[in-house]
């Protein structure tokens, strides 16, 4: 009986132990829960948010580029994409057939899409069609609810309305490369690659925004929680006048060359044309390799921006510089006369004037108007190479103009861009005096030179942004009387019958001061097997015409260069005339508008 009681007692005690043990187990669990849900709650909440919230960048819209009057040169066009999330489509093949009927796809396209879908992740959107316009997608968009897993999305792409007319100036954009990604670009962003698109990349690009999306465990978007809108890129208004650019382009026609027109008071560029151009839209829609290599192999080199990226002998346009140098250095011949028999003998060589029969006795004024070579051979000979090189440097030759576009070349001035010599061979100095031989300059440098003559010696950094302040490289110290002599001579080039550009400049509403140039091309070896291109005769000279207008009250300076165009006055003159006429008529029309 006692033993039984003992067992009973022990059992009752053990029951208490069980109660206590149960309590202990639940206390431990509860304490752990308190620790997790109260003390470490914030940390876990952060993790749960990180799990479900995906921050997706929202790309900014790129700034628009317009000409000075606001006409679009680089725009963003809305286009539509058709996307498919394969796992949400029940019958892929059948759906594709239905879409093909609406979007006019070929059977090959369907096959290609089937293959692409087969290769893609079933839970990620596959691009079926891109760059569609609204009329094309609207039938599908209206019936989208019949097509689960198919989506139509709007996107923008870059569009260059003027294509090849503005190709070198505006440039183009392309998808970010791995190098760009290191710079902080996002994978599907576009980056300016050439021209203004490249030079103003930072301003045009804008700032990406972001979107907080709630995603499920498979990364699919369930909801948009928060959106920080992107900041659109800055719109840029260029100083370019597309009417003038168009006039210049039409006047050049199929010929190869460059036209630069600069505001003489601000250094802003109104025309910056290089021909042939290339259609920059091709870069956006996806450039085929064949097209790209055709551009590369074209002997006219359409990808080269001839206004800044290539330097040519400035030829007789450089005689203005030789004149300025001689006047400044008080060379006796500058105020005297030389006799031109049609050639100049130098040791056993004969340096020819372009006019075989010669110009007779010529002053500097006559020599500029008629472009006598012999006068300038002698003038340069008396001046010497260092004096000529120094003057060239003062007026901005042999150095980059500092324009924002790239790549820019600086041209060549012997002794400045090449090592100076103690003694220059006289022949080199003479040839350089008429802008031939080793002397080269870009059309932009020549146009800026003309502008500086017109505005009294202010050398501008050429500017394409209409709303930027003008930047002056330097004010060239030049005697006013000396400058007047040069200007008068330039005027008479176009205004007197003896002038080399007289016949081409007649009948213009404005009087023009100018100078022709005809750069001799080193005779080509016979049997040159480079592809023959119409309007591009490799044996013809390069033609130049530079100057400013109106003569009395200068507004614009210009340089026209026609590669293998022939004689300066006849080949390049009419192009300048066309631009000047277009501008003058435009201003007249505006005035007429304002008058009544």
């Amino acid at each position: 009986m006692r033993a039984e009681l003992k067992v009973r007692h022990r059992f009752n005690f053990r029951i208490l132990v069980f109660y206590a043990a149960t309590l202990l187990f639940f206390s431990i669990l509860l304490a752990h829960m308190v620790d997790m849900q109260l003390f470490k709650h914030d940390q876990y909440l952060l993790q749960s948010d990180r799990n479900r919230i995906n921050v997706v960048p929202v790309l900014p819209e790129r700034g628009v580029i317009t000409d000075v009057e606001g006409r679009g040169l680089a725009l963003n066009r809305v286009a539509y994409q058709v996307l498919m999330i394969p796992e949400r489509v029940e019958h892929v093949q059948q759906t594709l057939q239905q879409l093909a009927a609406m979007l006019e796809w070929s059977d090959q396209k369907i096959d290609a899409l089937v293959r692409r879908i087969g290769r893609s992740r079933p839970d990620r959107p596959v691009l079926l069609a891109d760059k569609l316009q609204w009329p094309q997608v609207s039938p599908l968009a209206a019936r989208l609810h019949h097509f689960p897993g198919i989506d139509v999305q709007a996107s923008t792409y870059r569009y260059y309305p003027y294509g090849r007319l503005t190709s070198h100036l505006i440039g183009y954009i392309s998808l970010a490369t791995p190098k760009d990604l290191e710079q902080g670009y996002l994978a599907n962003e576009f980056v300016g690659r050439a021209g203004v698109e490249r030079a103003f990349e930072a301003r045009l690009h804008g700032t990406p925004g972001s979107q907080q999306e709630e995603v499920d465990v498979h990364g699919r978007r369930v909801a948009v929680l928060k959106r920080t809108p992107p900041q659109m890129g800055e719109n840029i208004r260029l100083s370019l006048d597309i009417d003038l650019q168009q006039a210049a382009s039409e006047a050049l026609g199929e010929r190869t060359g460059a036209v630069v027109v600069m505001d003489v008071h601000t250094g802003k560029l109104l025309v910056l044309l290089s021909k042939p151009g290339y259609d920059t839209n091709r870069f956006i829609t996806g450039l085929e390799y064949a097209r790209w290599s055709a551009w590369l192999e074209d002997p006219r080199k359409p990808l080269v921006n001839r206004t800044i990226q290539a330097a040519y002998p400035p030829a007789s346009t450089f005689k203005l510089l030789t004149s300025l140098a001689a006047l400044r250095n008080h060379i006796p011949l500058a105020t005297g006369k030389a006799y031109c028999p049609g050639y100049l003998s130098l040791a056993d060589r004969k340096l020819r004037c372009w006019r075989r029969q010669g110009h007779g006795h010529v002053s500097m004024h006559d020599a500029i108007v008629q472009s006598c070579d012999v006068y300038f051979y002698e003038l340069g000979d008396q001046l010497g190479m260092p004096g000529l090189g120094d003057e060239a440097q003062r007026w901005g030759f042999g150095q980059k103009t500092g324009i924002v576009l790239s790549p820019e070349v600086r041209g060549n001035i012997p002794g400045i861009t090449t090592p100076p010599r103690k003694r220059w061979r006289r022949g080199i100095t003479m040839i350089s005096s008429i802008g031939q031989g080793a002397v080269t300059a870009t059309p932009l440098q020549v146009a800026r030179f003309a502008a500086a003559i017109a505005n009294g010696g202010t050398l501008f950094e050429p500017e394409v942004d209409a709303d930027a302040a003008s930047r002056i490289v330097r004010r060239i110290e030049v005697d006013d009387m000396q400058l007047k002599r040069i200007r008068q001579a330039m005027h008479d080039v176009t205004a007197t019958p003896k002038g080399t550009a007289y016949y081409r400049m007649r009948g213009l509403p404005w009087s023009v001061a100018g100078k022709t140039g005809t750069a001799q091309v080193v005779a080509m070896a016979q049997g040159d097997n480079r592809a023959r291109v119409p309007e591009y005769d490799l044996h013809k000279d390069h033609a130049w015409f530079m100057g400013y207008a109106p003569f009395e009250n200068p507004q614009i300076a210009f340089a026209v260069f026609v590669e293998h165009g022939g004689h300066g006055g006849s080949a390049a003159g009419p192009v300048a005339a066309a631009v000047i006429r277009a501008l003058a008529e435009k201003q007249a029309a505006k005035q007429a508008e304002r008058a009544p």
Partner: protein, 368 residues
């Protein structure tokens, strides 16, 4: 009939009703986005299980004592048959194909051993070496067969409930302490014989971040769910971890994290309170049982419940390694719920028989 119904423990039934409501509500949150049919299925199973529980309340306890030996031997036989006829699922050979359905003999053994130990100690004390030795042999034999399947979870349940019953039966603390020391010493040996996936589970448990996308993924996601629930939870059906499918197995073994995420600490406390009431009542019924067999049975069953709850909550909250154990009355799963309701029926029957309402059990009754 009325006597049986009146004799049922009301508090225990109330706790069960609470658990049923909480369980069904949580299960809905876990499956409402997907396989909502599971929720209806679980409702039907609840109905069937409750009927079974009620039925068991009418079966005299003696019956279970009588069948304990045959049941144990049958379970042992089936366990022995497994290495020969068993089918492999997920790397473990646990299942027997009985033609109509698959069964896990280890599940049967769990209850058979509980019955048998209760029966064995109904008239014996665990304070002599013979009684203790037989009980230990009866436990270790099936435990060894189950651990090689391998099924660590069920082995643990077996050992744990056997230990609880031995303590109830008067096991000396000295012996208990020695056995625990021996078990700890056995850990390295056990490690050696563990399968790779089991070792992986233990290692992942020790450092879940070591394999965040693999084995550790489940635990990381469920702890994030629990912790991010906070005091009040994210709101019913508002749990982001659950709604966005970051939680694995969210309607079965990991359902606790759905409850903790959406209901917060408040819901967790409510769940623990309901469980505590349930277990306390079981122990209370054990303490007032009119037979030692009934007491032993209640202790065994209560210990199984405690272990299930602790192991499940511990594993989803990163406190214990991942062992596939359901959360009683909350997890989706037909056989587990039916078994647990049946076990609860047994406990209720013990209470009924000690309530003095049944004529043949009254003191002085010829049937006593």
């Amino acid at each position: 009939m009325m006597n049986v119904l009146r004799g049922m423990d009301k508090i225990l039934l109330l706790a069960l009703a609470g658990l049923a409501a909480l369980g069904m509500a949580t299960l809905y949150a876990a499956v409402y986005q997907g396989e909502i049919s599971l929720w209806y299925k679980q409702g039907v199973i609840w109905g069937g299980g409750l009927l079974l529980m009620l039925g068991i309340c009418f079966v005299p306890l003696r019956f279970f004592g009588l069948i304990s030996w045959p049941m144990y031997l049958l379970a042992l036989l089936l366990l022995l048959a497994i290495p020969l006829l068993g089918e492999v699922h997920m790397g473990a050979r646990r299942w027997l194909n009985l033609g109509l359905f698959y069964m896990q003999p280890s599940e049967l053994m769990k209850w058979a051993l509980t019955f048998l130990l209760a029966h064995w100690f109904a008239s014996r004390e665990a304070n002599n070496w013979f009684n203790l030795g037989v009980a230990t042999a009866l436990t270790v034999l099936p435990a060894a067969l189950i651990v090689i399947q391998p099924d660590l979870g069920t082995t643990l349940v077996l050992m744990f409930s056997a230990t609880a019953m031995l303590i109830a039966a008067g096991l000396r603390w000295r012996v208990f302490a020695a056995a625990v020391a021996l078990a700890v010493a056995m850990v390295p040996v056990l490690w050696h014989y563990m399968h790779d996936y089991q070792k992986q589970r233990v290692l992942t448990f020790l450092d879940p971040q070591s394999d965040p996308l693999g084995a550790g993924y489940h635990v990381i996601q469920s702890t994030i769910a629990i912790g991010s629930g906070g005091l009040f939870g994210k709101g019913y059906l508002q749990g982001t971890q659950a709604r966005l499918h970051f939680l694995p197995e969210q309607h079965t073994d990991f359902i606790f994290s759905v409850l903790a995420e959406e209901g917060g600490l408040l819901a967790v406390t409510l769940l623990f309170a309901l469980y505590s009431v349930l277990i306390f009542r079981m122990i209370a019924i054990a303490s007032t049982a009119s037979s030692r067999f009934g007491s032993m049975l209640c202790i065994g069953i209560a210990s199984i419940f405690i272990l299930y709850i602790t192991v499940n909550v511990g594993m989803v909250s990163g406190l214990l390694p991942v062992v596939g154990v359901p959360l009683p009355f909350i997890s989706y799963g037909g056989s587990a719920l039916i078994t647990m309701l049946a076990a609860l029926g047994l406990v209720l029957r013990v209470g009924i028989e000690s309530s003095g309402r049944i004529p043949w059990q009254r003191p002085g009754s010829p049937l006593a």
